[in-house]
């Protein structure tokens, strides 16, 4: 299994090297990779159906608890089959859809990355490994949405999608870490046994909220749904693959996977019910006002994701069965509808549903696929959609409380979704063919075969539900930890309430289709409410955040050195002064200080004068000379207090600096008076405060006892170990010899720098002479 994931990533890399050769007719051969994976996963069906769980453990960063524990159970198998199966069809479709596109190799590369990441996501049993794959799917989605990178709208949608799902990714990580902290493991399969501990833990609500944040952003739940319609800017194969069939279901997958871990609490179930309920109605209602085929499908996808969240929220065995079936149902019909839309767009050049009709004459196979998908979507027998819808109604009707309300919600949503299906899958093909669309060329086989396969599959599974019952649905429901022996999925349940509700749904959907015609006026009507939409609100917040950080940066990163210094120093002063004022008793023991002599007093006076002169003089040269005098007086202090080496060094260096300064600067003009009186007073106050602080700190330190361990070690061993009598020299050239060597290299680098700057001057002068 690990090999499957790795091959996916290698295939993506190989696009970088060999992509050029695969761009032409050979590109269809790339579909062999997902096809091989599909066959690989199909092999596991008998084992999984028998109730086995295939695992593979690969240690990675065990010390952090990150391991590649791969685990293939029913749920992972369904997703793996969808990822590779629909992936195969999308790869085939792409070879024709983006034929001769200059970036086709890149596109396939991104698709490979996505496929591998998505497989890793559903196969990982380790939460942290899953996080990495989770983020990888977001990133590959970003590149695919922004694939038409010359279009500013595409770029903006890609960024929106990335920021929303990216925030979700961070929440995912935080939630995962909390889970790991509480349960002591990052393996999801081991967390299941700790459900009670988790539910009663004080961090439970926070953990669940974080996980919800991750799932809702990824699966486009209200109020984070808006990135998904924007993501429709991606080429249609991407919308089919990522934004309806697989990636957006990652959030659903997560909720399904964690239901036995975090579920069984009112907070979990009610939140999911409410969010799922709002999402499905809100999105289904929006399909009424869209005229762009992909826009309609995007909202109906969000509605379907809402239904899934809602079903997981119900949390009963029946609802899990319904969710499992509906994941499959939705993947089949929605992928078909998207592929069909892509075909229409490619051959007619428009996706505006008001302009499309009568296309059955020119693209019959696409029309058949669209019709099949619309039927499955509306839940008309004998499609698998009918079974899916029945199961939903059964689970709402048998729910503990508010069964009527929940069922009504489900019916309303299903009517609207059914309507969306007719508009997208039927309307473009029936009626009179408008002029201009009669001469449309017949689609390429790679364009019409994939949707037809998917459309027909929806009926095969509907007629023979036993095909998926034991192999997929039972093992999936088994992952929630319930007994699955009594599950029987049937097309015909006999005459009962559910059948009646189904009939009402189907008939109302068709009626709505005939009554309500999508047009531009209705689209404009709904756009007036955009200011209230979560998209607008979140974008406004993002704008505010941006202006705030802009302001912040301008205040603190303004490019003026003195402002940086001021901020740092003032902050430091206040911080240290606060501590000093609160915690210190001032005790200065004058008796321990050494006596004053006349030499020292004179040196001090010279020094003070020199500093004053250096600071206040109007002449550069005078300032430099004063600095020199100051250096010499420090030199004298070194002499007084037993530091002959320092005195010598200071004397030499000071002389050199002054000479260098004078040589370089004697040509420069006098100082200009650059700052006003007020600034100087302000700076003066800051400087004096800082100086005072240093003095106080120095006195405080002097009052503390001193630790002489290091010094006495050096003094005792200077002669014994290093055979030198001058301890300072021995420290520098022997005990810390390597440090001194590095110091010399620093000087050498500075010298090279100086030399380089001087040489540069010569060259530019030469240039001027020419």
């Amino acid at each position: 299994m690990l090999l499957a994931i790795l091959i996916g990533f290698f295939a993506a890399l190989s696009q970088l090297l060999f992509g050029k050769f695969m761009k032409g007719k050979l590109s269809i051969l790339l579909s062999l990779v997902p096809l091989a994976f599909f066959i690989f996963f199909v092999q596991y069906i008998p084992a999984i159906a028998a109730g086995e769980i295939v695992t593979a453990k690969h240690t990675w960063v065990s010390s952090f608890g990150v391991d590649l524990d791969l685990r293939l159970d029913g749920l992972a198998l369904l997703f793996s089959l969808m990822i590779t199966g629909i992936g195969t069809l999308v790869f085939i479709y792409t070879s024709a859809y983006l034929k001769n596109h200059p970036m086709l190799d890149r596109f396939y590369g991104y698709l490979f990355i996505f496929m591998a990441a998505m497989l890793g996501l559903v196969l990982s049993d380790n939460f942290l490994a899953m996080f990495i794959f989770w983020e990888l799917t977001s990133i590959s989605s970003f590149f695919l949405i922004g694939f038409n990178n010359t279009n500013p709208d595409s770029r903006k949608s890609a960024l929106t999608a990335l920021s929303i799902t990216g925030i979700g990714g961070l929440l995912f990580l935080a939630g995962g870490l909390l889970l790991g902290e509480v349960t002591g493991t990052y393996q999801i399969s081991q967390m299941i046994s700790q459900n009670e501990l988790l539910v009663n833990h004080s961090l439970y609500v926070l953990t669940v909220a974080l996980i919800f944040g991750a799932a809702f952003t990824k699966s486009a739940q209200f109020p984070f749904h808006f990135w998904l319609p924007g993501a429709m800017k991606a080429p249609t194969p991407v919308s089919t693959y990522l934004h309806s069939a697989t990636m957006v279901k990652a959030g659903i997958y997560l909720l399904f996977r964690l239901s036995p871990v975090l579920g069984n609490s009112d907070f979990w179930n009610n939140t999911l019910l409410i969010v799922g309920g709002i999402t499905m109605l809100y999105a289904a209602f929006h399909t009424l006002f869209r005229t762009d085929l992909k826009g309609i499908l995007a909202y109906s996808t969000i509605a379907a994701l809402g239904i899934l969240t809602f079903l997981i929220g119900l949390g009963t065995k029946e609802s899990f069965i319904a969710a499992a079936v509906f994941i499959l149902v939705h993947a089949l019909y929605k992928a078909t509808l998207f592929l069909m839309t892509g075909a229409i767009d490619l051959y007619t050049g428009t996706r505006d549903v008001t302009k499309l009709s009568g296309l059955h004459k020119v693209m019959l196979p696409i029309a058949i696929a669209g019709g099949l998908a619309a039927i499955s979507n509306a839940g008309i027998p004998p499609s698998i959609g009918f079974i899916g819808k029945d199961l939903i109604y059964e689970s709402t009707l048998h729910f503990r409380h508010n069964a009527t309300l929940l069922t009504t919600l489900a019916i309303l949503t299903n009517i609207l979704i059914g309507y969306a299906g007719y508009v997208a899958g039927v309307k473009p093909f029936i009626g009179r063919t408008p002029t201009g669309l009669e001469k449309v060329t017949f689609p390429h086989p790679a364009i019409w075969i994939p949707p037809v396969i998917l459309g027909v599959l929806g009926f095969v599974f509907g007629l023979f539900p036993s095909l998926v019952e034991a192999s997929l649905i039972k093992p999936i429901v088994a992952t929630t930890g319930v007994d699955t022996s009594d599950i029987h999925i049937k097309l015909w349940h006999g005459f009962n309430t559910v059948l009646g509700l189904s009939a009402i749904t189907i008939i109302s959907g068709i009626a709505l289709y005939f009554i309500w015609k999508p047009n531009a006026t209705k689209r404009y009507f709904i756009q007036r409410f955009d200011k209230l939409s979560p998209k607008f609100i979140i974008e406004t917040l993002a704008d505010w955040f941006e202006s705030f950080s802009d302001l912040w940066t301008r205040i603190f990163q303004n490019g003026y050195l003195r402002n940086y210094i001021t901020v740092i120093v003032v902050f430091l002063i206040s911080l240290v002064a606060f501590t000093l004022l609160n915690n210190t008793t001032y005790q200065i023991d004058y008796s321990s200080f050494s006596k004053l002599t006349i030499y020292e007093v004179v040196s001090l006076c010279i020094m003070i004068l020199a500093i004053g002169f250096a600071v206040f003089t109007k002449s550069r040269l005078a300032a430099v000379a004063a600095t020199g005098v100051m250096g010499y007086s420090i030199c004298l202090f070194f002499v007084f207090y037993s530091a002959p080496d320092l005195a010598m060094t200071q004397f030499a260096i000071d002389t050199l600096t002054v000479i260098l300064f004078v040589l370089v600067l004697y040509k420069l003009p006098r100082y200009l008076n650059l700052s006003d009186y007020k600034t100087r007073v302000k700076d003066g106050i800051i400087a004096i405060a800082f100086g005072g602080l240093v003095s106080i700190l120095a006195l405080e330190v002097l009052a503390q006892p001193q630790n002489n361990e290091i010094s006495s070690y050096y003094a005792e061993n200077a002669y014994v170990l290093a055979h030198g009598k001058n301890v300072v020299n021995v420290i520098l050239v022997d005990f810390r010899g390597i440090d001194t060597m590095v110091e010399i290299s620093v000087l050498a680098i500075a010298a090279i720098g100086v030399f380089g700057l001087l040489k540069l001057r010569l060259k530019s002068e030469e240039r001027k002479q020419q």
Binding site: L604, S642, T649, T657, G691, L702, A715, V728, I749
Partner: protein, 117 residues
């Protein structure tokens, strides 16, 4: 004496900081030099000062018999003096170059020139 030296260190820091807050590049460097000297003096002072006892082992013995000045701060300061010389000489040449190119040593004007280029 320690008390006066502590005050002196403070004065050096204050003067250095004040010069660093000026707009002139030359003043900035002078400020840097002053604050560097202040730091040296601070380290020297905090290592405790001792009169007339350099850390040199007397001619015919292997150990110190009497008290001696702390050698560790001295070694540190020696390094610091040399390194700051490297920094200062580089900075001085840089100012010279910058002045040749932009004909000013006002930091603010240098900012705007940089943006215009």
């Amino acid at each position: 004496m320690e008390f006066l030296l502590a005050i002196m260190t403070g004065v050096l820091y204050a003067a250095g900081l004040y010069m660093m807050l000026r707009r002139s590049l030359v003043k900035l460097i002078i400020g840097l030099i002053i604050i560097g000297n202040g730091a040296n003096l601070l380290i020297f002072l905090l290592g405790r000062i001792t009169k007339g006892a350099p850390p040199i082992i007397p001619g015919d013995t292997k150990f110190f018999a009497d008290i001696y000045a702390d050698p560790v701060p001295q070694a540190l300061i020696l390094t610091a003096i040399v390194i700051s010389f490297g920094l200062q000489s580089f900075a001085i040449i840089l100012v010279k170059r910058a002045y040749q190119v932009v004909k000013t040593d006002d930091l603010d004007e240098m900012n705007t020139i940089e943006e215009e280029v």
